[in-house]
């Protein structure tokens, strides 16, 4: 039996009295594809930083191919073949592909002067390893996300890597690009290079990994073979709870549509989009990244004005030129990237909740009614069960799931007819995910109309009453979730 390329035993790590890791062990064989899963804050980031030498464990043992270390530095980890690709890829957007690839080795070899020929050769050799075709002189900032990631992977392979650790690698990739990535991971496996990737997406765990480890609250819950895993077990291991997925049936629907879109188009992004949304309906909009679904949502919210077609709300044609018009017509938008688009992290939870309706909490000249504000905040904290001891606490003190609730609360605090949600449960732990789905269904039952944009197929299937599939800027199919299945959906998406 070959030695494990990585073996960590009983790793403990605490930060000033708070235990981040309570004795976690992990073993990866050469060439193995292993998935590390867990909710936000479970300790998987800490574990990775310990493996790569950024943090020192308080106790426990790290073994690289049989060599035992008590603690390591980042350089030592690299020398032992450990490479980490962080979510931001650690690239220099303002510099060329050549420089991005060659810097690490130039620096490691202590070269002081720039030798363009040598650097170019290094770059060429690096991209050859995975047959990556790219313009070496292009500035990395101009490349697509997938290409940036490939640059990062090429760079990682330059140092005799034995184990590549990828942190949530598929977050910004289209389906096609994910397939390409997985193919590369398999190529690496064939070359004897193991991959440890962090993911919370169940379908990816199934698709690519051979073994998996689930961490919860700093403890390893289980390690096993992926073949023996299923949806229910996965959810249970991740959260410790069991959930029943209830498919949504709209009640309270009206025959007159709340929103009617006719031949809507935005040059370069989507065209000929027509659909109707009724009261109490939850419409699912799905498609690969780049299908135009996000741009459509932004057009419906007034951020990117469509240049052809019409939008009718309650039978009246409205020009959604800007966000204010959309909001005045009862449309709200929960954005894709809640951290940069949805929340004001350092500000208080209360401020985050009321910011979109703040004018209604003040008198005619803008003076705030502080009691009204306090009551409003308390109301929403209660209604959405936001876990916080104090609404003045900064938003950044909350977990991902709670943060998403705040973004929701912000919109629910306004009187909405239509709520558009882009990736409502992205990066949210499974427990919160379930809770949010229940909240959305309740909203629909109370008469709101929702549009959910998501590439989480199980989510779409259970939460929506109607599914629109987009591809290449057009709607390719309208399906009823109760009468279709995942395979048919995928067919229309690709």
């Amino acid at each position: 039996m070959a030695q494990s390329v990585l073996k960590v035993v009983d790793i403990k790590k605490s930060f000033a009295g708070v235990d981040a890791l309570k004795g976690v062990s992990l073993e990866i064989a050469p060439g193995e594809i292993h998935c590390l899963a867990g909710e936000n804050g479970c300790g998987k980031s800490t574990l990775i930083k310990i493996i790569s030498g950024v943090y020192e464990p308080n106790s426990g043992q790290i073994e690289f191919s049989g060599n035992i270390h008590k603690k390591i530095t980042p350089i030592e980890a690299i020398m032992n073949g450990i490479q980490v690709i962080y979510q931001d890829f650690s690239i220099f957007p303002n510099m060329s592909v050549v420089e991005n690839l060659a810097f690490n080795s130039e620096l490691a070899n202590k070269h002081k002067l720039v030798n363009k020929k040598r650097m170019r050769k290094i770059a060429k050799d690096a991209i050859a390893k995975i047959n990556f075709e790219v313009d070496l002189d292009a500035k990395v900032g101009t490349l697509s996300v997938a290409d940036k990631q490939l640059v990062a992977i090429c760079r990682a392979l330059m140092f005799d890597a034995k184990l590549i650790i990828m942190d949530e690698p598929t977050t910004a990739l289209t389906r096609k690009e994910v397939n390409a990535l997985f193919k590369i991971i398999l190529d690496l496996k064939a070359q004897g290079i193991a991959t440890l990737f962090v993911s919370h997406k169940l379908d990816e765990v199934f698709e690519i990994s051979e073994r998996f480890t689930i961490i919860r609250s700093g403890e390893k819950i289980i390690t096993g073979n992926t073949a023996e895993l299923d949806n229910k077990k996965f959810t249970f291991y991740m959260t410790g709870r069991e959930f029943e997925d209830i498919a949504f049936t709209p009640k309270n629907t009206d025959t007159a549509p709340v929103l009617e879109v006719k031949n809507l188009g935005l040059t370069g992004f989507f065209e000929n989009i027509s659909f109707a949304l009724h009261k109490g309906e939850i419409l699912g909009l799905t498609g690969l990244l780049g299908s135009g679904r996000t741009e459509l949502a932004l057009s419906l919210f007034g951020i990117r004005k469509a240049d052809s077609g019409t939008i009718e709300i309650d039978g009246k044609e409205i020009r959604l030129d800007n966000v204010q018009t959309a909001m005045e017509n009862g449309i709200g938008y929960v954005p894709e990237d809640r951290l940069s688009e949805g929340l004001f992290l350092p500000r208080g939870i209360g401020d985050n909740i009321i910011i979109s309706e703040v004018d209604s909490l003040a008198n005619g000249i803008g003076v705030l009614d502080r009691t009204k504000k306090k009551n409003e905040i308390a109301r929403w904290v209660k209604e959405l069960t936001i876990a916080t001891p104090n609404p003045d606490n900064a938003c950044s003190t909350l977990s991902g799931g709670n943060q998403q609730r705040i973004v929701l609360a912000k919109w629910l605090a306004r009187d909405l007819k239509i709520l558009i949600l882009n990736g409502p449960t992205m990066g949210v732990d499974i427990g919160s995910k379930y809770d949010i789905h229940m909240i959305l269904q309740k909203l629909a039952d109370e008469g709101m109309s929702l549009i959910i944009i998501s590439d989480d197929i199980p989510e779409i299937m259970t939460t929506c009453s109607k599914i629109l599939i987009m591809r290449d800027g057009r709607i390719t199919a309208t399906l009823n979730p109760k009468e279709t299945n995942i395979q048919e959906l995928s067919k229309y998406m690709m």
Partner: protein
């Protein structure tokens, strides 16, 4: 040929150059005096001190930082040098003053460097504070006063010329100061460092993404520290040359120049956020400001219109650049999505 043209049109520097060209022709048209030998020499001569300041400022801005203390730093190091040598009745050549001023400049730059690189304090605020400290030290502790006479070696340097250009028509002559060699020398060194050494690439890398630079193995602290020391050295050289060329030391003369220098650097296409910009652009942007300042006289515009024109220049220049950025980011968004379709 088309590829070169395409690449040229994508670069900021081309546009600045065109603006300078158009402006020059305009001035030539109005006054007939722009493209005369003595005017060109005058402009080159006027570029020396701002150009040197700009090189240092440029490198700091590319690294993602900023330094507003350099006029005060230069004033202090130069005053200290000049007054010490004057009091000691120094009569030697220029080398000792240069060594002294640069050494003091390096020391003062190191103060900035430690605070910014070691303590990780925000550069704008640190240099704001040190600017005040340097100024206060010079005026308070050293009791700096105007020096109408400076050591002979220095004034000789300032007034000696490389050659003299004569305008045949008007009979006006202008001397090209020896100091222009200093500018050329520093330019060449800066070019070599920025484009031919890992240290220089590191400056760009840090400006692009400091965390990535650290992870890639750049010694970020060291690079930043040395950068601010370097600015101290170059700025002191600039200040010294200015004092020599004026054959006087007026201690507060240079204070307040920081904003115009930064404006010149930015007009030349250097992003204020760091990571982008070229030495060429930096010099072109500075040249543009110098030309506007110097040539208003040629146009017969009274000097008190200068501020107005400079202000308009900065606003229009940065405005155009800002709308370019907006357009190009929209274009790249379009490009990215189209590719994925």
């Amino acid at each position: 040929m088309p590829i070169i043209l395409k690449k040229l049109t994508q670069r900021n520097e081309t546009y600045i150059f065109l603006v300078i060209l158009v402006l020059s022709f305009l001035i030539e048209f109005r006054s007939g005096q722009f493209f005369t030998p003595n005017n060109i020499v005058d402009i080159a001569s006027a570029m020396i001190v701002p150009g040197l300041f700009a090189i240092g400022t440029f490198m700091v801005i590319v690294s993602g930082g900023i330094d507003v203390s350099f006029p005060a730093l230069a004033s202090l190091s130069v005053y200290a040098t000049t007054s010490t040598l004057f009091d000691a009745k120094y009569s030697g050549n220029m080398w000792l003053p240069i060594v002294m001023a640069l050494a003091i400049g390096a020391l003062l730059g190191a103060v900035n460097g430690i605070l910014i690189a070691a303590f990780n304090l925000p550069p704008l605020i640190v240099t704001l504070g040190t600017s005040s400290i340097f100024r206060g030290f010079m005026l308070g502790v050293l009791g700096a006063k105007q020096m109408p006479v400076i050591p002979k070696g220095m004034s000789t340097f300032g007034t000696s010329s490389l050659f003299v250009a004569k305008n045949a028509q008007s009979g006006l002559t202008s001397r090209m100061p020896v100091a222009i060699l200093a500018l050329i020398f520093v330019l060449v060194i800066a070019y070599l460092i920025l484009y031919r050494t890992m240290f220089g690439r590191g400056i760009y890398a840090i400006g692009g993404n400091e965390t990535s630079a650290f992870r890639a193995g750049f010694n970020v602290r060291q690079i930043k520290f040395l950068l601010y020391v370097g600015v101290g050295i170059i700025s002191s050289l600039a200040g010294l040359i200015r004092v020599c060329m004026m054959t006087q030391d007026h201690p507060t003369n240079m204070l307040g120049m920081e904003m115009m220098i930064i404006a010149g650097v930015v007009l030349g296409g250097t992003a204020i956020t760091g990571g982008a910009g070229s030495l060429t652009g930096c010099m072109l942007g500075t040249a543009l400001i110098v030309i506007v300042q110097n040539s208003l006289i040629l146009l017969g515009v009274p000097t008190f219109w200068q501020g107005f024109f400079l202000g308009m220049l900065i606003l229009i220049g940065t405005g155009v650049s800002a709308s370019q950025v907006m357009r190009s980011s929209n274009m790249s968004k379009l490009r990215k999505t189209r590719r994925a379709l």
